[in-house]
């Protein structure tokens, strides 16, 4: 039975976590398990498994953060950034690809060298120190294909079969069904995958890890954790000494509340996290909270992405089965002999119905020939490109000077353009995608550029020196000692890997760090 705690607004001994996704719910649960009192503020509502249906349009509307935003550069003005507003955050939507960073990923500046236009630094975190945290994260999440869990890899669906056949035919060897935080058999009280499809609309049986039905209820069971859903953080306040002291939020009834705090962990995704710090400007923090570096909201990274959809000679039914259990890793390794640094992964991506195919295969296309591609929906195979996106100072999340949200606050103004390295990666990835599908007998191949994915990173990055970034290797901000960045905002680089596993591993390590500091009365 859940015996969720209730804490008072003036209880200054609690850790206030903002956000209940991969970062927030994980750090919150880990703290609660250690006996630390936690209040988790979540802007979205709390759904249950029975609310999750195999209906892409309905679930998109239900899960997605659709508050107004302004996008510019190469972003889709309709949906400049994709994240979720619901208890569990983007872990409701994610496709559950759970990959560790490669060893070189922690040292992009040292390995790639200085690159014009790229704001590269090395992570203060090292490959070696993260390995035990990756083990723990994989066990928490039930990652299939992980040595730490011992869970076997998922079987490949039809879309994987096409990718795998074509990739191996052109000579790739590191091709498999990925490491996925989807149960390949029953694990941790959740069932094995039924190959339902619809992973990204929310997993209706809970075979995919989501904090909605793992971290949040586990934390509540400790009696140390209070979830306040439909509570939207408006600003973080500080005391005269410059320590975070409270979080002001709009509650479910539209009333402003002020929750006092001993520690504040911000995990609102790399869009809302920097926005909240920028909204928390005061006389002491004139450029936004924890922004003496000027890097808050800077270095916004997505992934260098894109997609390919191929009409194959036979039926694929690519929408059946685990959506992203299929990967080609070979091009993900950094090589010195290419016209770009870093690389890219290719991951299976189904068309997501005839509507998804029509919208995405060739945006804006119409007419007889394109209608024929859509008529061949059954025969379509698809993949997604995940390449490293260079951090650029000008790619950013700032406050819009004019547009306001429903609470009267400036909305996020998001800007992203490709670095030349990104463009070179995508061009090569398109060539590879074509060669793979041609090798498997494709009749028609459409390649296309990025659409909004839930990979938002880097707007409050980790850095060794306080002038280069916003937080240290534990996510603790350089400027405000009891303020932590607990989500993908703290990423120093984007790497070629999907971000969630690393967000979870970093959040677990952060909770351990916070608990140690609190035990020593240093927080």
């Amino acid at each position: 039975m859940i015996k969720a705690a209730r804490f008072e607004l003036d209880d200054a001994s609690v850790v206030v976590v903002i956000g209940s996704g991969a970062g927030g719910a994980t750090v919150g649960n880990e703290l609660a398990q250690k006996g630390i009192k936690v209040i988790c503020l979540e802007a979205g509502p709390r759904l249950s498994l029975s609310d999750i249906r195999n209906d892409r349009a309905a679930m998109f509307t239900r899960l997605t953060w659709l508050d107004p935003r302004v996008g510019s550069g190469d972003l889709d003005p309709q949906l400049p950034a994709f994240l979720c507003k619901t208890v569990g955050g983007t872990t409701l939507h994610w496709a559950a690809v759970a990959l560790r960073f490669q060893s070189h990923d922690w040292q992009p500046l040292s390995v790639y060298g200085s690159i014009a236009g790229a704001n590269l630094i090395d992570w203060p975190t090292t490959h070696a120190e993260m390995q035990p945290w990756y083990d723990r994260a994989e066990k928490k999440m039930g990652v299939s294909g992980s040595a730490a869990t011992g869970l076997p890899r998922l079987p490949g669906n039809n879309n994987y079969k096409v990718l795998s056949y074509g990739a191996q035919k052109v000579g790739y060897r590191d091709v498999y069904t990925a490491n996925i935080a989807v149960n390949s058999r029953a694990y941790d009280g959740r069932p094995g995958c039924l190959q339902t499809g619809f992973c990204m609309s929310g997993c209706a049986i809970g075979a995919k890890w989501s904090t909605l039905y793992t971290e949040v209820p586990r934390a509540e069971e400790t009696g140390n954790f209070e979830l306040r859903s439909e509570c939207h953080a408006l600003r973080i306040e500080h005391d005269a000494a410059g320590r975070a002291s409270a979080v002001v939020y709009k509650d479910a009834h539209g009333t402003d509340q002020r929750q006092r705090a001993r520690v504040v962990c911000v995990a609102g995704n790399a869009i809302e996290t920097p926005r909240l710090l920028l909204l928390s400007t005061t006389a002491m923090f004139r450029d936004g909270l924890a922004n003496s570096s000027g890097q808050v909201g800077r270095n916004y990274m997505t992934h260098t992405s894109g997609a390919a959809y191929a009409v194959m000679p036979g039926e694929v039914h690519a929408d059946r089965g685990t959506q992203m259990a299929g990967i080609v890793m070979d091009e993900g390794r950094h090589q010195d002999n290419r016209n770009f640094v870093s690389g890219f992964l290719l991951e299976t991506l189904p068309p997501q119905g005839p509507l998804g195919l029509a919208r995405r295969a060739k945006p804006g296309a119409w007419g007889r020939e394109y209608a024929r591609t859509i008529e061949n929906y059954r025969n379509v195979a698809g993949l997604w490109i995940v390449g490293e996106d260079m951090p650029q100072y000008g790619n950013s999340v700032m406050l819009d000077p004019t547009v306001r949200d429903q609470h009267g606050l400036p909305v996020a103004r998001i800007h992203h353009t490709d670095h030349p390295n990104d463009a070179a990666i995508r061009k090569r990835a398109w060539e590879v995608a074509r060669s793979i599908y041609e090798a498997a007998g494709a009749r028609t191949i459409h390649t296309r550029g990025p659409f909004a994915a839930t990979h938002n990173m880097g707007t409050c990055r980790q850095s060794t020196k306080s002038r280069d970034g916003v937080c240290n290797k534990f996510g603790r901000t350089h400027d405000v000692q009891n303020l932590f960045i607990s989500d993908g905002s703290q990423f120093t680089s984007s790497t070629t890997q999907n971000p969630t596993l690393t967000i979870v591993a970093l959040a677990m390590r952060q909770a351990d760090y916070i608990a140690r500091l609190m035990a020593r009365r240093e927080l």
């Binding site: 096409v162 498999y176 339902t196 039926e315 089965g321 005839p354 119409w366 007889r368 008529e375 007998g441």
Partner: protein, 181 residues
């Protein structure tokens, strides 16, 4: 299972499913837009803003944007009905659409598809084009009936997913390289 590169010919899919041989493309291109017939007898498609000429043109525009010969006119008329209600609710939409339709060539619906495509291409970027394009795309492929005809299998959870229902039933590739490593 069909191994053919399966286009579908007019209305045949309703009778025989997906494994249909394609009509030669050239013959399809000869078709003019069919004369709309669905609206007159169907209350759900009764229009309040557009007159019969405008409705016929809009239906033809929709079909030219995403021509599927196996779909009957009613599917395209549903899109016209949606545009009609948007026009009824928003005067700017009504004015924009009617003004553009006023300038359409007299023989638009009667001409062959290639000519109709040429004309619509000249409108790309206009508000008229954006409205009709977006409504046709979303209205057509977002319609569960159309999606199902195109092969969308819908919700699977109530059937136990595809674990026992063909998530990996692809058999037209040599097995050795397609199997999981």
């Amino acid at each position: 299972m069909s191994k053919a590169f399966s286009g579908v010919s007019r209305r045949q899919i309703l009778a025989v499913g997906s494994g249909v041989t394609l009509l030669p493309l050239a013959s399809l291109l000869e078709f003019a837009c069919p004369v709309p017939s669905a609206s007159a007898s169907d209350d759900s498609l009764r229009l309040t803003t557009f007159d019969p000429r405008e409705a016929a043109l809009l239906q033809c525009v929709s079909r030219t944007l995403f021509p599927h010969d196996f779909l009957d006119d009613r599917q395209y008329m549903k899109i016209v009905a949606t545009l009609d209600s948007k026009a009824a609710a928003d005067k700017d939409v009504a004015v924009t659409l009617r003004a553009a339709l006023e300038r359409f060539p007299d023989n638009f619906a009667a001409t062959v598809e290639a000519h109709r495509e040429d004309y619509l291409r000249s409108l790309e970027g206009s508000v008229f084009f954006k409205l009709t394009y977006q409504e046709t795309l979303a209205g057509l492929y977002g319609d569960p009936v159309v999606a199902a005809l195109l092969g969308d299998e819908g919700s699977s959870i109530e059937h136990g997913g595809y674990l026992q229902r063909g998530f990996d039933d692809l058999s037209w590739l040599p097995a050795d390289k397609a199997a999981n490593k």
